[in-house]
């Protein structure tokens, strides 16, 4: 049957028959890199048009409807525009760091792709600390924003960078705690283990209310971590022009823009993996017949369906809620999300020990 893992295995077989092992490894690494870059480009195009359409429909507008059929090629036109624009570097900027920052953002986003399981047995690197790896690497993300903010030598950029730093550092806590809830249940940090543990039902259903609370906390925290509205203080247009990327233009701006969308995809993929079973089809306990029907839907469709559903939820947040003030933002984290997720983690631990979950 046609599947991602079949293609990958056949390719690997063919390559190892044709070349020696070192050559095979190098070719496979290059192929993986190209695939990730291709996925990035596709995600950028799809997510931008999706965001614009979703925002338009939620605000009773039509949205882009001129370029291509129903405006579906709008983001392609935008990309072309960004590609041909001049990438300015301001005179007073720290030129090295200013030009380095967008690439750091992009490299971090690429590194985060490694442990994500896109389909059954289709994963770049199934390392044994998968989830910890994700939260570790995503903490480098803030560095690129701080770098951009400082190197621009601009008040707005610096303010945006500082806000973003405070925000990401504090929301990482509750994101980490809600991830821990799943890790406690599974007893493993490995992504494939976590997915396999959900073969008889996803954690959000198996884990009763505490898991739902953890899921909601996770979604709120990652919305804040990716600097999206209602937590977009780092680039609050009405206050800070464009925050940390005020001075960026052309392709360097496009890289930040793309990194933002790719990060949204990644956090949603992680959320789908942890709480909604990743590529695991929707199974209910002992209903063999039902489970069998569900298995006919390819695993990649399950994964992308769940991920895009979460992306839609995050977009839904963005176009519904007004932006928070900085004190409200920190109140929400330190007075509400953190205590709630700590108590929730205690309850989840008790459940895991007493085997109260299904």
């Amino acid at each position: 049957m046609w599947s991602f893992s079949n293609i990958a295995n056949n390719l690997h077989k063919w390559l190892s028959e044709t070349f020696n092992p070192t050559m095979t490894l190098i070719i496979e690494m290059v192929l993986a890199g190209v695939a990730v870059i291709g996925l990035f480009a596709a995600l950028g195009l799809v997510l931008v048009i999706m965001e614009r359409k979703v925002s338009a429909w939620m605000q009773i507008r039509l949205g882009p409807n001129r370029v291509g059929p129903k405006g579906m090629l709008q983001s392609l036109a935008d990309t072309l525009k960004l590609l041909v624009k001049e990438g300015l570097t301001p005179n007073g900027a720290d030129k090295l760091l200013f030009n380095l920052a967008p690439f750091v953002a992009m490299i971090v986003a690429m590194l985060l792709m490694a442990p994500i399981a896109f389909a059954k047995d289709f994963q770049l690197w199934d390392l044994n600390i998968g989830v910890l790896y994700v939260s570790a690497i995503s903490s480098i993300m803030v560095i690129s924003i701080l770098m951009a903010g400082w190197a621009s030598n601009n008040k707005y950029s610096l303010m945006g960078a500082m806000r973003s730093g405070a925000q990401i550092v504090s929301y990482e806590l509750s994101a980490g705690l809600s991830i821990l809830a799943v890790v406690v249940m599974t007893g493993s940090l490995q992504v494939s283990d976590i997915i396999h543990s959900q073969a008889d039902g996803w954690w959000i259903f198996k884990g009763h209310i505490p898991m739902v609370v953890a899921f909601i906390t996770f979604i709120i925290a990652v919305t804040a971590e990716t600097n999206r509205a209602p937590f977009d203080l780092a680039e609050a247009e009405s206050e800070l022009t464009a925050g940390f990327h005020t001075e960026y233009s052309g392709m360097k701006f496009a890289l930040f823009f793309l990194a933002e969308y790719v990060n949204v995809f990644i956090v949603c993929a992680i959320g789908a993996t942890l709480f909604l079973g990743g590529w695991m089809p929707f199974h209910i306990g002992n209903w063999t017949q039902f489970n069998h029907v569900m298995d006919y839907i390819p695993s990649s469709i399950w994964f992308f369906g769940k991920t895009f559903f979460l992306i839609f939820v995050i977009m839904w947040f963005r176009w519904t809620f007004p932006r928070l003030r900085i004190d409200q933002l920190l109140n929400l984290e330190w007075k509400y999300l953190l205590p709630i997720s700590m108590i929730n983690l205690l309850i989840v631990t008790a459940m895991a020990i007493l085997k109260w979950h299904f």
Binding site: D94, L97, I129, L132, S139, I140, W150, L158, V169, G187
Partner: protein, 172 residues
């Protein structure tokens, strides 16, 4: 023999050392912090190269996500963008170079003196292994250091609160 693995090691080591050197020799304080960051990432890379992913991830979480961000924040709050630090006196330079050399020599002597036990089969630590060792009170357990560190953090937290709570002098 040169294999891909050794090439990778030398690349990572070169990254770590160059960035470390640059971080002490640059005259822009923010760049120093960023070079330090890349140097720490290089060390994390070496841990990944050794296939101790857990330590590598912890290295990134603690040093990159925590300490460097803290350093950058203190730079943001105290320094001005685009300014260069004053040049150091030659005496100071020589002294710090000497101190670095002494520390380096001491470490190298210790490394060469130590008999490394290569016979032990390497175990890739699993999650439950790490967790159990972290909280075990038996020999080789880390319960005591863990608690001592948490005491340190508690003291730091109390200090912060005391500083923040310092009452303002009453105005008439």
């Amino acid at each position: 023999m040169i294999t891909g693995s050794t090439i990778l090691f030398y690349l990572l080591a070169a990254l770590t050392l160059t960035c470390g050197l640059l971080s002490v020799s640059t005259r822009q304080i923010f760049r120093a912090a960023i070079y330090l960051l890349f140097s720490l990432i290089g060390i994390a890379g070496i841990y990944f190269w050794l296939q101790y992913e857990f330590i590598a991830a912890v290295q990134i979480v603690v040093y990159v996500g925590g300490i460097v961000v803290l350093i950058i924040f203190s730079i943001f709050l105290t320094q001005q963008a685009g300014e260069k630090l004053p040049k150091q006196k030659p005496g100071r330079k020589i002294f710090s170079a000497l101190a670095v050399f002494c520390g380096f020599a001491l470490t190298m002597v210790q490394v060469y003196k130590h008999e490394f036990d290569f016979d032990k089969t390497m175990v890739s630590p699993t999650m439950s292994n790490i967790g159990q060792n972290m909280l075990s009170t038996k020999e080789g357990g880390y319960a005591l250091p863990f608690e001592v560190i948490s005491m340190l953090l508690l003291a730091a937290m109390i200090g912060c609160i005391v500083i923040a709570l310092r009452s303002k002098p009453e105005t008439k």
